[in-house]
Symmetry: C2
Subunit: 286 residues, 2 copies
């Protein structure tokens, strides 16, 4: 997905938010805003939002000398999600459509995103996503693709969301490789966040070799690129994975909430929509 | 009020919004974003938000060759408000506290602000502001000041809000001079907007000699500055007037809704608060 003009003010807000979470002084926050505006002005217009976000959040990490400004937020999100885990499992086991319920739960967890917004209401979101109609619903295709696949490559998004992913992984009857970031960026899940959510008990965990948001191939390891190229079925969670992979001709199912108007418009749906979208293999080039 | 760092992304969003309302192409919108980031980087940090907004919206007017991007929005807002006028008058006449009701109505009309947000829900706001407690309530002081004043200088804010102001003006028992902008800026009321709201039937209308948002003295006419300096009682509507006059030692009552977190924090209240605030004459220098 291209970077829309609406992304500029949003990325500037994100830089300020990250600077504050990193404990920057008022003066340093101001310097970071100036630096971010320079970055935004210099970037090629055909960049994707995760490419810009990567640069901007890396700058904040460097200028604040804080490699992981979202660490505390990530730990809290995981704990909050783990407290919900038994209830989520019960919802799946009691559902007449356990796969659909588990998919909805995984998408609900995508609200745990500190890039798009400053805060979120997890319980209200859960209620909403478990009951509202899908804005895009490729569940039938997902079932069919699952039936003919041997393994699943699952691209994680945020810490805490990991617990919701675990519920979905436990509902799938195939071996799953869970792909996290190689280092901290925003509140994206790293190895330790995945383990804290118990993912190590249900899937192989690898990192993609990069600490960029989404999946930026030029930043990723050869190993990850190879796994991606060979995958039968890829589940890609969250906005940044959609933004970076929407032009990739791979067997991807995107699971996300359209948490801002920009991505909603790109998908042709209303803001807040629940999305289970199969990549259209015929429309794109790698 | 100083410009807080949160104002930077908001002003960038405003520039984009104004560019679109002015009919700018995607390319021109991009250029305007770049120009705005340059402006934001170059401004002295002790500027007030209306000083920055003035520069930015003037640039949009110039670069799009559209002197009044909000004209259609302003006309619609006035028509929408005029349709509510009979109901608003009835609320005042049936109220056991007509002055308080008229003040609430004038504050409710302050939601008609296309700088702070992209849209608003006038009916929902009216319901809320007419019933919720004031976050700051200097109504007793306002009554006392009204009792010992001969005239009122009423600093207008937005087109459409003018109709709500008219209801308050009709509830006051003193001659009112209604001060509008000398030219278009955002959706601020100009002479023609005031007349369209029927203000000419209930008050003298003057302009402040400037088309800056709020009240920037260095941009205003000598005539307006004289009227301001001599005023017994000044009613200043909206965020921009608060932002530009919060350090002025004048007999001002600010009537506004705290529509963003920045102004809410500056006032020490929650976002969305209803404010009738008397200027603290002892705390400030002109």
């Amino acid at each position: 997905m291209k970077t829309y003009l609406d992304c500029y003010p949003c990325l500037l807000r994100q830089a300020l938010s990250a600077a504050r979470r990193a404990g920057a002084s008022e003066n340093l926050q101001h310097s970071i805003l100036l630096e971010t505006m320079e970055d935004l002005s210099a970037f090629p217009p055909n960049s994707t939002p995760p490419q810009l976000a990567y640069r901007i959040h890396q700058q904040v990490q460097k200028l604040t000398n804080n490699i992981d400004p979202y660490r505390e937020d990530k730990n809290q999100a995981t704990q909050q999600a783990l407290a919900l885990y038994p209830e989520l499992k019960k919802k799946v086991s009691e559902s007449s459509e356990p796969l659909e319920m588990a998919v909805r739960i995984a998408i609900a967890g995508n609200i745990i995103d500190l890039g798009v917004a400053e805060s979120y209401d997890l319980n209200a979101t859960l209620q909403r996503v478990l009951t509202q109609s899908f804005a895009i619903n490729d569940l039938v295709s997902l079932r069919n693709t699952l039936a003919r696949s041997n393994t699943i490559l699952y691209l994680a998004d945020n810490a805490g969301e990991t617990v919701f992913d675990r519920v979905l992984i436990e509902s799938l009857e195939l071996p799953v490789t869970y792909v996290v970031k190689a280092g901290p960026i925003i509140n994206d899940a790293t190895y330790e966040d995945a383990v804290a959510a118990g993912i190590d008990q249900v899937a192989e965990i690898i990192d993609n070799g990069s600490n960029a948001p989404g999946t930026l191939f030029d930043q990723c390891s050869d190993l990850f690129r190879k796994r991606f190229a060979q995958a039968d079925l890829i589940i890609a969670k969250g906005q940044a994975n959609y933004e970076s992979l929407s032009n990739s001709s791979a067997p991807i199912f995107f699971l996300l909430q359209a948490k801002c108007i920009v991505i909603a418009r790109d998908l042709g749906i209303d803001e807040g929509g629940t999305v289970l979208k199969q990549q259209d293999m015929n429309s794109f080039n790698t």
